[in-house]
């Protein structure tokens, strides 16, 4: 597992503070397909301080390499270092608490939109204060996501809730929609906070703390689209075996989770329709009791049993929509996310491959090429390692989350049936008691 690191590797001097920021440069000699090269790489990375575009991207990656490392070369703040190490094993020792609440509607001449209040509480040194309160809109979350993807192209960034809900006639400002979105946004930020690398991202900090917020510029939004188009045009050649497997898993997982999502939504719908019919069922017995003198009590009791079961159904439904549906849906979005990550990884590799091709087949400009190729090889190495490490972490989380969600669903069902059982059993008891009373009264 990536967890075991070369902590013994001596750090070189001049390592800048705040490893999450893209300061530490990347590059370095790649270890062929190894998973434990990060620390060594880090040392060599430091030497290359040039500001090249891809380097900057790469440097951001470099910082990520240590995400699973116990290396002391990461962030200098001791507290955050301890937490860095502990992140994966004991998420309870986190030092960053985020809540998303209080959706508010804002009306301007051009548009209407919703903002959400974000409260951050932290004990981290690099934050100026221990508590922050800001307001952000969905667009801003999109900006943050884009920034994170830019900085860490092969890390599994948590998904955002969809822009629009395609099916149904859900208005953008429907209460249920807003609440669902709020919960998902809350999840989004917390997932970032829990991620060993992403949690130290500078843009993340800005997002959580900046009061004067201009919002995402038009250009940066455009930049995302351009990048997306570009990446989709690269082919997939020479993909290493492990990534082939990963890709297969992702495709299959995506299929399965989508199906599970559909089934779960359908179950909710069926339960709702059952509930709607049941609501009508109980009252009929009350109506009946009005014309039956001798059966009044029995009929009324049956009616109240049915009503209680109805309430239990309602509870079951809400349990489903709290526990199972959002989790499954998040993983549907995650599966799309993963495909994007695979593409980006492929793209990085394609860059390398194309340069290698040039070197192999064309003899022109071969001077600078080896150096370029060297850098790209490092880049690929880092990207692959980052992804692999994050993949393991993601898979573990996924299994836990799905397991928990289904366990919750099972519990909701158990609870539902237990409640109904108790209701009907007490009805039976009361009827039997009544019968015994009547029988003893009849005795001469």
């Amino acid at each position: 597992m990536e967890g075991e690191r070369r902590a013994s590797q001596a750090p070189s001097s001049g390592l800048p503070a705040g490893g999450a920021n893209g300061e530490s440069p990347g590059g370095g000699a790649p270890f062929p397909g190894s998973s434990g090269s990060s620390a060594l790489l880090q040392a060599e990375v430091l030497d290359l301080d040039e500001d090249e575009d891809d380097l900057e991207v790469f440097s951001k990656d470099a910082s990520l390499m240590d995400m699973n490392s116990f290396s002391p070369m990461m962030p200098t703040s001791p507290l955050s270092m301890i937490n860095q190490i502990k992140f994966e094993d004991e998420p309870d020792l986190k030092d960053l608490f985020i809540t998303v609440d209080e959706p508010e509607s804002h009306v301007t001449t051009i548009e209407t939109f919703i903002t959400y209040r974000i409260i951050t509480k932290t004990s981290r040194g690099e934050f100026d204060s221990s508590e922050f309160e800001v307001r952000r809109r969905y667009q801003d979350f999109l900006w943050l996501k884009g920034k994170l993807e830019e900085a860490h192209p092969t890390l599994i960034i948590p998904p955002l809730p969809e822009k629009f809900i395609v099916k149904g006639m859900v208005e953008r400002f429907n209460d249920d929609f807003i609440e669902t979105r709020r919960k998902a946004l809350h999840k989004f930020l917390n997932r970032i906070a829990d991620h060993p690398t992403l949690t130290f991202n500078e843009d993340f900090k800005i997002f959580l703390t900046a009061q004067a917020w201009q919002g995402p510029g038009l250009l940066s939004r455009m930049g995302q689209t351009v990048r997306a188009v570009a990446s989709s045009m690269r082919g997939v050649k020479n993909r290493p075996e492990e990534f082939m497997e990963m890709n297969n898993f992702i495709e299959l997982f995506s299929q399965k989770i989508n199906l599970i999502d559909k089934i779960s939504q359908r179950i909710y719908k069926e339960e709702r329709e059952y509930f709607d019919e049941m609501k009508e069922y109980g009252p009929i017995h009350i109506l009946w009791s009005a014309s039956e003198e001798d059966l009044v009590d029995t009929l009324k009791d049956v009616a109240s049993c049915i009503d209680r079961c109805c309430k239990a159904t309602e509870k079951r439904m809400s349990g489903l929509s709290e526990a199972l549906l959002p989790v499954v849906h998040e993983y549907v979005l995650y599966s799309e996310m993963l495909m994007g990550v695979m593409k980006r990884r492929d793209q990085i590799q394609a860059e390398l491959d194309s340069k290698v091709e040039v070197l192999t087949y064309k003899k022109a400009d071969t001077d600078l090429l080896p150096e370029e190729i060297g850098k790209l090889e490092d880049k690929v190495e880092c990207a692959n390692n980052a992804l692999k490490a994050d993949w393991e972490r993601w898979k573990q989380n996924m299994q836990n989350d799905i397991k928990l969600a289904f366990t919750d669903m099972a519990e909701e069902n158990i609870h539902y049936y237990e409640q109904c059982l108790a209701t009907w059993e007490s009805f039976l008891t009361s009827q039997t008691n009544l019968h015994l009373e009547e029988a003893s009264e009849d005795k001469p």
Binding site: F249, E277, I284, H285
Partner: protein, 457 residues
């Protein structure tokens, strides 16, 4: 509970079913038949034990249903279902039963029996037949009369019908009923020979016609309202129940879809290896539980169908109640008409005798206009009228008596019916609770097991 003295033509004399005690014990249950199978409690049984008679007991069952083809009245081929009716006599002392009769009948013959009973026992709340066509169906149940589930439920319904008659203090002694159980061939002819169709008052069938009764009996008016309410509320209940059943079916069945997905997922997990083998296995187990959960709804709803049938019987009983009310209404109407007619004749007579014309009559006018009638003519007319008046008075007297008898007997049977209904409906509601409990227990079991799968993964 008083009953009318048995009509010698209708009742079995002598009959193997006759009580060994005094014939006017009158407490109809003198003929005690133990109703089996449907678990019906015979009111007769109570009075039987009460009177301490030693009696032979009869068991009736509709034990089989068979598809047959034959030719109908138009000589066209048709398919129908025939039902096997077996009658056993049970020795009281040792409880052993001997098959005494067994024959096949089809639904239309049951209908004929009931029509006959309706005509000859108008003061009795005649037990209803199970429905001819499946109604209040939810989507899975076939509305097809040939569907095996429908046939099975109908078999039970027909058995119940016969047991109800057999446990009725008066109806059980009917000769035609006895022949229905014992004489396969020629039974239809025998019934038709009674001429009951002619006796049937066609006005009873004209449901929409209202007869303006000047002095309605409040008890019967109330009973009619009650039967309307009963019919309306049970229909409503059955309709909603069918919809609830449909929805419940949907909820259970959708869970079955999890089964397929998880089984495919478990294959992936198993392929991935690295310690996820057990996850795959537990997914398979989970799949099994989801499939079992999904299919458990079939049995649950089948049980509920029997509950619905119990309610349906009382839905149809409402009709039988209404029939008794209707009969009473007609009798009352006829009575009032007869009284009115008598009164007017007396009036006419008096006028002729005294020579005064107080009431307008066409004859009176014409005689005034076209000349007086002779004293001899007048005498003749008076004599005719006096005869008619005499006759009318006799008829009125007997009609009154008939009416009072009817009310007395009808009301006795209605009381009997009420007690039966209260018992049966209470039992049905309790059985519904029992079904719900069983369903809940199954649900708890499946989901507890399912939860374990995930905790073990």
């Amino acid at each position: 509970m008083e009953q009318a003295p048995p009509d010698p033509e209708r009742q079995l004399q002598p009959a193997p079913l006759e009580p060994l005690g005094s014939p006017d014990a009158g407490l109809g249950a003198a003929v005690g038949k133990e109703a089996e199978g449907a678990g019906e409690e015979s009111s007769g049984v109570d009075t039987m034990t009460h009177n301490n008679f030693w009696l032979k007991k009869i068991e009736i069952s509709v034990s089989e249903a068979e598809k047959r083809t034959g030719r109908n009245a138009m000589n066209m081929q048709e398919t129908y279902t025939a039902y096997l009716i077996e009658t056993r006599s049970v020795e009281h002392t040792d409880g052993q039963s001997v098959l005494t009769d067994s024959l096949w009948r089809r639904y239309s013959e049951f209908e004929l029996l009931r029509s006959y009973l309706l005509v000859y026992y108008p003061h009795i709340v005649v037990p209803p037949l199970p429905e001819k066509r499946a109604e209040f169906v939810w989507h899975k149940l076939s509305a097809d009369n040939m569907d095996p589930d429908f046939v099975e439920r109908r078999r039970i319904g027909l058995e119940n019908f016969l047991l109800r008659i057999a446990s009725h203090p008066i109806l059980c002694r009917d000769k035609i009923f006895y022949l229905f159980l014992t004489q396969e061939g020629n039974w239809k002819e025998t019934v038709n020979e009674t001429g009951f169709q002619l006796k049937a008052d066609s006005r009873l069938k004209a449901l929409n016609a209202t007869f303006r009764v000047k002095n309605p009996d409040k008890r019967f008016t109330d009973l009619k309202h009650y039967s309307d309410e009963l019919q309306s509320v049970i229909s409503h209940l059955l309709r909603v129940r069918a919809r609830v059943a449909d929805r419940l079916y949907g909820v259970y069945k959708v869970h079955g879809n999890y089964g397929r997905v998880f089984s495919e997922w478990s294959a992936i997990e198993k392929e991935m290896g690295d310690g996820l083998q057990s996850a795959g296995h537990h997914m398979d187990v989970f799949r099994g539980y989801m499939c079992r959960y999904a299919s458990s709804i079939d049995d649950i709803l089948e049980d509920e169908e029997h509950y619905a049938d119990q309610l349906k019987e009382y839905l149809f009983y409402a009709e039988a109640l209404r029939a008794v009310c209707r009969k009473h209404e007609l009798m009352q109407y006829d009575l009032e008409m007869a009284a009115q007619d008598l009164a007017s004749k007396k009036q006419q007579c008096e006028e002729l005798v005294t020579g005064t014309v107080r009431t307008f009559s066409l004859k009176g006018m014409t005689t005034k206009l076209f000349g007086q009638e002779t004293p001899e003519q007048r005498e003749a007319r008076i004599k005719v009228l006096e005869e008619q008046i005499n006759e009318g008075e006799q008829q009125l007297k007997s009609k009154n008596l008939e009416g009072r008898e009817f009310v007395k007997n009808a009301w006795a049977d209605i009381e009997r019916f009420k007690e039966q209904k209260n018992r049966d409906l209470k039992e049905a509601l309790i059985s519904y609770a029992v079904m719900q409990i069983s369903m809940c227990k199954k649900g708890i079991q499946v989901w507890t097991n399912a939860k374990e799968c995930f905790s073990k993964m």
